[in-house]
C-alpha cells in the first residue's frame, strides 16, 4: 500500500514531472521509466519528503539524478526518431505533421547537449527554476548552473532548425 497522500501526489503531479523526464530523455518509454524510478525512490521516504515541504522538488531531483546515473552507467546514444506511441497520442490532425517535425527538431537539438547542460536548460528555462533553486536541486554551485546554461543555450541557438521553429512559435 502506498503511504498516505502518495497516490494523490502521483496523480496530480505526474504530468509535469513526466514532461521534465521527456525533455531529458527524448523518449516516451524511457521518460515513464525514469519517472517510475524516481517515484519508487520517493515512496520509501515519503514521510520525510512531505515533512521537507516540497515533494515535487524531491522527485524532480530524483529524476535528474537517475537520468545522469543511467547515462554514466551505459550510454546507448540517443535515437532521435518519433515513436509510434507519441504520434498516436498527439491530437489535432491538422497540425500533426508540424508537431511531429518540431518534436523531432527539439529532440535532435537537445541530444546535442551534454546531459548536464540538458538538465540545467530544462530545469532553468522550461521548469522556470531560479539559478539558486536549480543549483540546489542539482547539488552544484550557482556558477556551474550559469556556465552550463550559457553553453546549452548557445548550442540551442546555433541550431538552425530550432531557431526556425522558435521564430514560427513566436509568429503564432
Amino acid at each position: 500500500m502506498p503511504p498516505d497522500g502518495f497516490a494523490e501526489f502521483v496523480a496530480a503531479r505526474s504530468p509535469a514531472l513526466l514532461r521534465t523526464a521527456w525533455l531529458l530523455t527524448g523518449d516516451t518509454g524511457r521518460s515513464e521509466d525514469l519517472l517510475q524510478t524516481a517515484l519508487a525512490a520517493t515512496w520509501r521516504r515519503w514521510r520525510q519528503v512531505v515533512t521537507g515541504g516540497n515533494p515535487e522538488a524531491y522527485v524532480r531531483r530524483a529524476i535528474v539524478t537517475a537520468y545522469l546515473s543511467w547515462w554514466r552507467r551505459r550510454w546507448r546514444g540517443e535515437v532521435p526518431a518519433a515513436s509510434p506511441g507519441e504520434a498516436a497520442a498527439t491530437t489535432g490532425a491538422g497540425d500533426l505533421a508540424t508537431e511531429v517535425a518540431v518534436r523531432d527538431t527539439v529532440r535532435r537539438a537537445l541530444a546535442r547537449l551534454s546531459p548536464q547542460q540538458r538538465a540545467v536548460v530544462v530545469l532553468r528555462y522550461v521548469e522556470d527554476l531560479s539559478v539558486a533553486d536549480t543549483a540546489d536541486l542539482l547539488g552544484c554551485s550557482p556558477a556551474t548552473v550559469k556556465v552550463q546554461a550559457h553553453r546549452g543555450l548557445r548550442a540551442l541557438r546555433a541550431d538552425p532548425d530550432l531557431s526556425r521553429s522558435s521564430a514560427e512559435e513566436v509568429g503564432r
Binding site: 502506498p2 502521483v10 496523480a11 505526474s14 504530468p15 513526466l18 514532461r19 521527456w22 525533455l23 516516451t28 521518460s31 515513464e32 517510475q36 524510478t37 517515484l39 519508487a40 515512496w43 520509501r44 546515473s69 554514466r72 552507467r73 551505459r74 550510454w75 546507448r76 546514444g77 507519441e86 497520442a89 498527439t90 491530437t91 518540431v102 518534436r103 527538431t105 527539439v106 529532440r107 537537445l110 541530444a111 546535442r112 551534454s114 548536464q116 547542460q117 536548460v121 530544462v122 528555462y125 522550461v126 522556470d128 547539488g139 552544484c140 554551485s141 556551474t144 553553453r151 543555450l153 540551442l156 541557438r157 530550432l162 531557431s163 521553429s165 522558435s166 521564430a167 512559435e169 513566436v170
Partner: protein
C-alpha cells in the same frame, strides 16, 4: 536579425513535449519497483550477515597465521581479471552502481593531479544484472603522459566535438571504466570513463579513448620490458 530569445527557446521546448497518457497501472508498477528493491536489500543484508558470521568464525584461524601483507609493488602492471566475482577490489573499489558512488557535484576540472604516482584502469563488464571486474591495469611508468592528456582533454567547446563522442559502439556498451588516481600524499581520486567521455563529479571532458589507449600501451610496455616486474603474490 537577432536569434531566438531564452523565452522563445523555452516555449519551443515546452511545446514539443508530446501528450503522454498516464498508464493505468503506474502505481502498481512503482509499487512493484519498491518491493523488488526491498527484497534486494533484504537479500543483501542476509548475505552480509552470513559473511560476517563466517568471518568471525574464521578469525581465530586467521589471526594465528597472520603475516604482514604488502601491497603490490608500484609499477607492476596487473592485467589479470579478477574473475568477475563482484567482490570489492582494494584499488578499484566497489562494483560500479551496485553501491552508489557519492558524486559531489561542482568539483573543478582538471582534478588535482600534482603528485600523481599511479593510475589504475579498472574495467567492469556487464554480466546479467551485475558488473564484474574484468581488468585492472596498474600503471606508474608514463604517468606524466596521462597527466598531460587529462590537463589537455578538450571540453565540448572545441569545434571537433560532435555528439558522436558520446556514443558507445560495440563492446563499449557493456563496459564501465574508472581511472583510480593514487598520489604520493593526497587521498585517492577517481575519474569515470564512459566511451570517449572522462567525467568527475559535474564536469566532463573528451578524449577518454586516447587516455585508455595510452594506459594500455604503457602497461604492455612494462610487461614486455627487459626486466620483468615482480608479480604480486596472492
Amino acid at each position: 536579425m537577432t536569434g531566438p530569445t531564452d523565452d522563445d527557446l523555452a516555449r519551443v521546448l515546452a511545446a514539443a513535449v508530446p501528450r503522454m497518457p498516464a498508464p493505468p497501472d503506474r502505481m502498481e508498477r512503482v509499487g512493484a519497483l519498491v518491493r523488488r528493491r526491498r527484497n534486494l536489500r533484504t537479500v543483501g543484508a542476509l548475505a552480509v550477515l552470513v559473511l560476517t558470521v563466517l568471518a568471525v568464525s574464521a578469525l581465530p584461524r586467521f589471526l594465528g597465521s597472520a603475516r604482514p601483507v604488502s601491497a603490490p609493488p608500484i609499477g607492476t602492471p596487473s592485467p589479470q581479471g579478477t574473475g568477475g566475482s563482484g567482490d570489492e577490489d582494494p584499488i578499484c573499489g566497489p562494483e560500479p552502481y551496485l553501491t552508489p558512488v557519492p558524486t559531489p557535484f561542482g568539483g573543478p576540472w582538471p582534478p588535482r593531479l600534482a603528485g600523481l604516482m599511479r593510475v589504475t584502469l579498472c574495467e567492469w563488464r556487464l554480466e546479467g544484472e551485475r558488473y564484474a571486474l574484468q581488468r585492472r591495469l596498474i600503471v606508474t611508468a608514463g604517468v606524466t603522459d596521462v597527466v598531460g592528456m587529462l590537463l589537455a582533454a578538450p571540453d565540448d567547446e572545441v569545434p571537433a566535438y560532435t555528439p558522436e563522442a558520446y556514443r558507445c559502439t560495440g563492446a563499449d556498451q557493456q563496459l564501465v571504466r574508472r581511472l583510480v588516481l593514487d598520489f604520493d600524499e593526497a587521498p585517492r581520486e577517481w575519474i569515470g570513463l564512459t566511451c570517449d567521455v572522462l567525467w568527475q563529479s559535474w564536469w566532463q571532458r573528451f578524449g577518454g579513448r586516447a587516455v585508455l589507449d595510452t594506459l594500455v600501451g604503457h602497461a604492455e610496455s612494462s610487461l614486455s620490458g627487459p626486466s620483468p616486474p615482480s608479480r604480486p603474490t596472492s
